[in-house]
Symmetry: D3
Subunit: 282 residues, 6 copies
């Protein structure tokens, strides 16, 4: 008796009920102002993960030691952003309700808003640790409030001042940088001072969101708006490990891989390795 | 005294007021369900047009014989489809009011709806001649009525039965093909029977819309949803010439070039040549 | 309760026991002498099939009318060709034993040998209809008898003279063409005379193998050894339909898509459409 | 004792003195106005020829039946066009003096001028048969007389009226087409009427020059200025065979492959096949 | 009343007469010995600049604070290098005469010679600060003195010893490195010791030329002759800022972006960011 | 009298008998489990070496000072791994017998086994210095002992404990890392502690093998299994120089360049530069 074809991120073949972590893809890029294509990221990451080992010599841990479930991708409709966010929130809430950690693979960065809504409903004292090249703090973008350039501002609408910790920021307009000074913690240009986030989190629940363009375009060219001057893979790996080991991560995501701008496939391979290291650190 | 840098489609450097035809780009692809990227088409066509001659040996005419104005691209906001269509309609109306022919370069196919609204307001007896691989006749797509898969159905909402003439159609779902039988003329698979459109137009004003994926992917790979079995360049060139010479074209467009899926640049070169031949046939 | 991620060719979501046709991938390219990469084809076809409609206007049939099972890809080991062929034979035999039609997606052309062995064991009077640019009739390749350049010769070892019908052949060495004259039917250069295969099959069971490089490289560039002067998509579609409707197909395959040589994605889209049309014709 | 690495077009390993035909590359693209890169063509053709068979089923002949010498590429200096042409002329003359047929692989089309000068010095009654998408008949290009857009006009300066036969022409400016009417034979758009060239050659020596962009960009995207509406491979193959079998070819070339605009490699594969068929027809 | 399409580098929309800085493109690559294509750089930079913010968090300055004019690209003729240099000199002189800073975007590195001639005519005490992977100090290249491999040697012909300061040099032939020891200051391999240039400039007017291949190919692959072991973006950004803030820049350029060797688009994005940072530092 | 076309790595045009070093290509990738294509590396490296200078400013030495012979590529048969290794061993032995240093360019990493067999036959006290991202220490891969994932384990079968020194290792499965602890020296993650290898070699003969994926994918994307977190070019260059200057290298190789995954060409350029620096350090 032959079985249907199940595809998951390498080593993540647990059933939902037995899992501690639940992966899902959010293939949406409908508000992207420049180069689209992050909609293709979760499928690409799942497929290319088989070029990776399940074992991490950095952490001396193996994905096969964990129990991770991969439900595949949500079916999201382009052209109706509010509905997309509702569906993401619903899925994240279902995972959280079952006592598991949702691990979302975007998609553009706006998808974070759906999952943060779910996490904030469960955890009123939620903090956000945010790795990114861009502030994502605009009030609106050409009049639209739901934009990948505004997603962290929308999260701030929910959480308020002093709860958001940004790292690696090196692009935005002047008003965003001005606004940030009084509302969030922003580490410009590099990933130093992770301690500030750990102290700020102070054992409260943390949502971790990683816009992969925080990496330098040399190692991560496959993204919509590459910004030179970013972190090396090792800098990101160490910062993530340090942050995750010292905080209480209740949900997380990575986003902004755009595989069609990655003809050598390196960006997707990097994204897979980041996912593995994050899974092993939760 | 040095001058600012003006960029237009080759040979189309007339002022607006002296022009007979007004080119503009509609760089929008926000409802595309599969591979996006048509937002980059109008800029690519304008830039690559300089690889083309202004003279057509097919028609023995030259773009320098015409008076064509090129206003560049509209600035359109992703994430608000109705507003995008309003802005397109406004521009097309302004051109039509000035007694000129709007020639729009998409963008995804939904942009046609904005220009058709403008043309139908001026010409209540408007007909549409439509070249495409896809029917674009869905009632909705995942619940959204404003979709590139529904654009001709939305045009039918305005014009009614017997006014739309489709050519080259070879993809759609079964209900679309069923619906078409009683509402539009559909030439499946090829570009034969242009006479039917000419007779149906019967000297009424005609809007001509060319989804470039009507071409075979061998000659036009750079599009979101390539469909094998399409027209050769010569078949399209002849059909367009025959249709345009025998009808009263009041507005037109081409759409669905996606230059980032065209690494050899051939699709953009083909699109430029189609634009030249169409301009010379109006 | 969330479910694991099942991936199948679009519309092919039947269980095995209820299915009439069983799809499986054979991701092997270990004997390829020139450009490898067909190992990536079955996954690419499955993923890209969602850019296709399930409905065929050519046949006025829909994949949702059928019952097709997709078991995903075999796990095959590079470096041990005989073992690879054994595993393919075993899977094809299991499908045939259950009274279903195996539909294999290669991989290089040598994978056909495994499935033909299975089919010939069940059907001693088996015929082969073969679409290809290349004869694949070498006795050996640099001394190796199990080679993608020898696969049809190896099939002839099993079936004997007069049972193999080749179409579209336009490349090989001189001895292959000489040998063919007395052992197989070969239609050189084009897909004419399908009647000869239909008459030769004479209601006996038929294995149909489609090396997609029978198509012209203009429409199918993504293959290891592209040969100019091939069939158009329409020519192949019509020949396949005619052959399949008039013979008793007990097993079939397509092979030799190499997606990494297909930067625009057109070859994979074409392969998906060929699969759909073949599924609807069985 | 190990030997140095000799690289030649497949099957062309004769010594110079024993050869009937002498291949050489002219890797120059210094006057190209748009997309450069034909400098890389001869090396690419030589390397990729090993994906081809030496046997042609079209002609039932094999390269191993011939004696062809391949001397590799000339070392040409960018920035000094007259000197480049002198070096090409010198090499072609040396081959012609030895009683052999020079077969040059460009490079841009201007390289033809060097070889034509050599051939015309030996054969005062020389004719030219010219396959191309472009007229190449400009008097000058931005003031420069030595340009790939003027190469056939420069050949006419040497040969005079009635000696040049053009096929497949579908691009140029209006004055070129006007000038052509009284000075050369021009078959516009297709490859019909090869008889005219055969009759015009009337057993006089013929220089055959093939600008590969005469092919449709669907099958030959890898060129600087692709022009839709060209010949299929089969049309070109048949026309070349017919012309070469019925005229006295004393020298020939192919040019304008630009391999870096050919990511799938198909254009280079096509060029290799054209070279093989031409070699077998001399 | 609709207006013609004006395209400029983002934020550089001043009129000429009101501007302090005047941008222009020099799309020439006629002497390049290896991979050409820098002719496409200025258009690519202008188009892609819209993926960038006008605000620099590094300098806390914004392009909208400046007055920069962008005149587009010069029309330069391939095949006549002296004339090309004359036209560049003429334009640079016109800008300098108007009291503005010319900012040229190449093109290959030889274009610098035209602009240096203009600057040296106005400022007899001119110094050059030069960032590059290559010495560019050859006496000639295959006999041609006007070559991108000789451009700085030609500048030395004008300025003489002790006026040229090179940084990042890691490629050249042995005689170039020997020659450099007594004629120019050369910082091999890295961008240390910018102080030497600042002291050497000693408030004299400075021409700054940035061959972008000074960057490591990891962050800047899109160039004709990539040389591993180069500067990171941050190293270049800091060195440029330090040099520009402490010298009197009267003219500058960047060159050697070859966008067609940059399939992910990262090199063009980096070039845009370098242009922004340089504009904000003048 | 014209000569045949000889192609060699730049500056390596010595005859075999006069040479001190003999280059050869081993274009085999038959056991690669993921992305194949290293078969194309030696030809690509030879062709692209002409974009490099023969002079190294790092070492102040020039390839023209050396006597290096380049015999081109072995003709290896896919599908018979033992025979491939025999042919490599035979060639390496012939070079070693003549008292010269074999310098092999792979191909996948398994080719190293053939050359190590030859070197170990001549030098029973052979040591191996190994740069790689991967351990390559598996006992077998899916049951096959001859695999690119097992190559160093197979070398250990010959040499035994304490003779192998690994650098840069950052990927493998857990048992490989466990096994390594007692059998080889492994420097994880970086290229520190080269002294350990120098001391361990202790003037015994050394085989140096460089899997180029030891480099970070930012600078070397063109490989089958890119692993983020690797060495920069400068780190590798310095480590190689230090190791080679302080040990007795009797044979060496580089492998795992896969040029078709390197659309910008940077990886091949890097490989060429590594070859030059290694040649100059022997």
């Amino acid at each position: 008796m032959l079985n249907k074809n199940i595809e998951n991120f390498i080593g993540c073949d647990s059933d939902f009920e037995n899992a501690d972590i639940a992966l899902f893809g959010a293939p949406f890029d409908g508000t992207v102002s420049y180069r689209p294509g992050t909609r293709f990221a979760p499928k690409a990451i799942r497929a290319e993960s088989f070029g990776l080992e399940t074992y991490s010599p950095y952490q001396d841990r193996d994905l096969t030691d964990l129990r991770v479930f991969d439900m595949g991708d949500l079916e999201l409709c382009f052209g109706n952003t509010p509905r997309v966010l509702d569906e993401i929130e619903k899925t994240a809430s279902e995972i959280l309700s079952a006592g598991k950690v949702p691990f979302m693979i975007g998609g553009e960065h706006l998808v974070t808003l759906g999952a943060v809504r779910a996490a904030a409903k469960k955890h009123s004292d939620l903090r956000i640790i945010h790795f990114d090249a861009h502030t994502d703090l605009r009030g609106d973008y050409l009049g639209e409030e739901l934009s990948h350039a505004s997603v962290i501002r929308r999260c701030h609408d929910i959480l308020g001042d002093g709860r958001i910790f940004q790292y690696g920021i090196r692009s935005g307009d002047r008003p965003e940088f001005e606004w940030a000074k009084t509302h969030v913690f922003m580490q410009k240009f590099d990933l130093q001072n992770i301690e500030t986030a750990i102290e700020g989190a102070n054992n409260h629940p943390v949502y971790l969101t990683v816009d992969l363009d925080v990496l330098d375009p040399s190692i991560f060219p496959g993204t919509g708006t590459p910004e030179a001057g970013g972190a090396s893979f090792e800098e990101l790996r160490k910062a993530l490990f340090f942050a995750m080991k010292n905080t209480n991560i209740v949900a997380c995501d990575i986003c902004e891989l755009s595989p069609h701008y990655d003809p050598s496939g390196v960006s997707t391979a990097v994204a897979c390795k980041v996912v593995r290291e994050m899974l092993l650190s939760i």
